[in-house]
């Protein structure tokens, strides 16, 4: 596995990692579209991006994906025949901003076609020259994890020899207006697992990894995906199941596939949206699944500095786990200052911690009752 990314705290993988360990705050006032009529006007917006526009579709979603792919390809080569290279990309919003454009005066057929949620992933496949399967996953904010899981399945089945997998989403008026109306956005700082947490802020990013079967992997490796699991809550469209049953099922499935037990887990990258319900439910599920070991495992959540990057979030968090293993540092949870007794786990706060995790667990939840979990093994250490 190799990786590439573009995020609000860094325009490539190295800058992303630097931003994590220095606790960078990528939350700013949104400038690219109108927000003055919204309750909350801030988010993890990537600035100065238009200046480096890549050839191909002009939509921001595709351009973010291209930027992440360019970064990835500085570290890895697609060394397989084109028809054996697959693309599996997760997104919560696809090219919906293009649909907004299609409906404006002067909107074109190209805008309308770009409004379909699978348009950016196909644009990425064309740009990469990948002629294998192209899958667009949309399990809301768990998309970036589901995509890596499906990519692993494609490799295991032999449907592809290389898979460029990951997730992306952009900040646009559509999603800002929606979350603003739901009152999910905080006017304060994003504070995952903090006693004062009051909601999330959105961000935009793209993150991609190049995956291959173990025996086919060449060059430096970031790590391995050992297992993945998914589940529906069957409970509520926008809120996690109060008992966290879907998340629990997904975590247990991922750990079973990975062949790991609680004592094997060295790091948990939590979804950690900083909504009162999510962080409490997630904590309870981790306590249930990991048992007494849960209290001894370093945990973090990286949405405090990035915002919730939706379709990109889980891929970024998986990459963070692997980089933590390589570098021997676990980034801290930006925004966490006052611990919540209801979230009584070992959340890394205040400063990065010198730990070199081997096996990591990453959790994700999304609208529609989507849950996903990944178990990863870093190549470091």
């Amino acid at each position: 596995m190799a990786a590439g990314a573009i995020t609000p705290i860094g325009g490539d993988l190295d800058a992303f990692w630097s931003g994590l360990v220095t606790g960078s705050d990528g939350i700013t006032r949104i400038e690219r579209f109108r927000v003055d009529d919204l309750r909350v006007c801030r988010g993890g917006e990537i600035k100065k991006f238009r200046a480096v526009r890549r050839p191909g579709p002009g939509c921001r979603a595709s351009q973010l994906l291209f930027a992440a792919a360019d970064d990835l390809l500085t570290r890895a080569r697609l060394d397989a025949p084109a028809e054996r290279v697959a693309v599996v990309v997760g997104t919560a919003l696809g090219g919906v901003e293009e649909l907004e454009r299609a409906l404006e005066p002067g909107g074109t057929l190209r805008h309308a076609a770009g409004g379909l949620y699978d348009a950016p992933s196909h644009a990425l496949a064309r740009r990469l020259g990948a002629h294998g399967p192209v899958l667009t996953v949309s399990t809301a904010c768990a998309s970036g994890a589901t995509a890596l899981g499906l990519a692993a399945d494609l490799l295991r089945e032999g449907a592809a020899d290389r898979v460029v997998a990951g997730g992306y989403d952009i900040l646009c008026r559509f999603v800002m207006r929606g979350f603003d109306a739901l009152r999910s956005l905080t006017r304060e700082r994003v504070r995952p697992f903090d006693r004062r947490r009051s909601g999330l802020l959105l961000g935009e990013a793209a993150a991609l990894v190049l995956m291959a079967r173990e025996r086919d992997a060449r060059g430096p490796r970031l790590g391995r995906l050992l297992g993945h699991g998914s589940a529906s809550d069957g409970s509520h469209l926008t809120a996690p199941a109060p008992d966290g049953r879907g998340l629990e099922f997904a975590i247990r499935a991922a750990m079973a596939e990975a062949g790991v037990a609680a004592p094997d887990v060295d790091l948990v990258s939590a979804h950690g949206t900083a909504t009162p319900l999510n962080d409490r439910v997630e904590t309870q599920v981790l306590q249930r699944v990991l048992g007494p070991r849960a209290a001894a495992i370093p945990m973090n959540a990286i949405k405090g500095g990035l915002g919730h990057t939706m379709g990109a979030a889980a891929t970024l968090e998986a990459i963070m786990c692997l980089l933590a293993s390589r570098e021997g540092i676990v980034p801290h949870t930006v925004g966490l200052e006052e611990r919540d007794p209801e979230c009584g786990l070992d959340y890394v706060a205040g400063a990065p911690r010198a730990v070199r995790p081997r096996v990591s667990l990453s959790t994700s939840l999304g609208f529609g009752g989507c849950n996903a979990a990944l178990v990863l093994e870093g190549a470091g250490g």
């Binding site: 919906v96 649909l99 379909l116 399990t139 998914s230 069957g234």
Partner: protein, 265 residues
């Protein structure tokens, strides 16, 4: 990779319920209509009052599957049943409403339904599905990917039954679809379908089938353009014709052909 068979298909289209409702020639039967619409299903329950039409169609498609198979709801409930949902565009109506309703109706109640995950989310709530879960976006090729993923989940023991659900609606976005020249002369037929896959003893290989297979052509001629639902229309036609054994399914989307061979009971 193997071990999955189709045990049933529920199909609703603008032509009616089931394969028997499909005309011999969808183009002729459409009589110039660009969209052959499906009415909003009248499902009982307060929870469905504000739900979108595409969500109700998803629920109705699973109910049609239960009628086709004779299974009860309790046989789907729980974590042993996986749900893989696929659509090319069924989120378009809710997206459009949210965008054009900016000054009025678009708000907290409507926004969650703009996500593609709303349809399988409502289906999971209604039928108590808490097993493996995935959502793919795209046309017929994505549905073949969804069937393949369902088969993988079965083969690896991650579920004991798998539902592959597809929904497509077009009426609300008819003006946008009218701009798509590749659809010229082909009626867009609103549809929802759900296939039940179960483990198979026969270890049917899931290999690319030569494209386009007979069922793909038949589904298009009789069903019209149903995008992601197309391969499930083909399965419903095969089931109605009592064709068992290995079926070749094919589909194409955005210039990418795909195919697989799948056993049908």
């Amino acid at each position: 990779m193997s071990g999955a068979a189709v045990a049933g298909v529920g199909l609703l289209t603008g032509w009616g319920e089931g394969a028997a409702a499909l005309p011999a020639d969808a183009r002729a039967a459409a009589r110039g209509r660009r969209v052959v619409a499906l009415a909003r299903p009248a499902l009982a329950g307060e929870r469905f009052r504000r739900t979108t039409r595409e969500c109700l169609l998803g629920v109705a498609a699973v109910e049609a599957l239960l009628r086709d198979t004779g299974l009860g709801r309790e046989e789907l409930r729980g974590s042993d049943t996986a749900l893989v949902y696929v659509t090319a565009a069924a989120y378009g109506a809710s997206n459009l409403e949210f965008i054009v309703g900016e000054a009025g109706t678009g708000g907290a109640l409507h926004f969650p339904y703009t996500a593609p995950s709303a349809v399988p989310g409502e289906v999971a709530i209604e039928f108590g599905l808490t097993g493996a879960y995935s959502i793919l976006i795209g046309g017929p090729a994505a549905t073949l990917d969804a069937l393949r993923q369902a088969a993988r989940l079965l083969a690896s023991g991650r579920c004991r039954k798998a539902l592959v659900l597809a929904v497509e609606t077009f009426a609300e976005c008819e003006k946008l679809w009218a701009r798509a020249r590749w659809l010229a002369g082909r009626p867009l037929v609103e549809s929802a379908a759900c296939a039940l896959l179960v483990p198979s003893d026969s270890q049917t290989p899931l290999v690319p089938a030569p494209a386009p297979a007979e069922l793909e052509a038949l589904a298009r001629v009789r069903g019209g353009e149903t995008l992601a639902v197309g391969p499930l229309v083909g399965l419903a036609l095969a089931r109605a014709a009592r064709r068992a054994g290995v079926l070749a399914l094919t589909g194409e989307w955005r210039g990418r052909p795909a195919g697989l061979a799948l056993e049908a009971h």
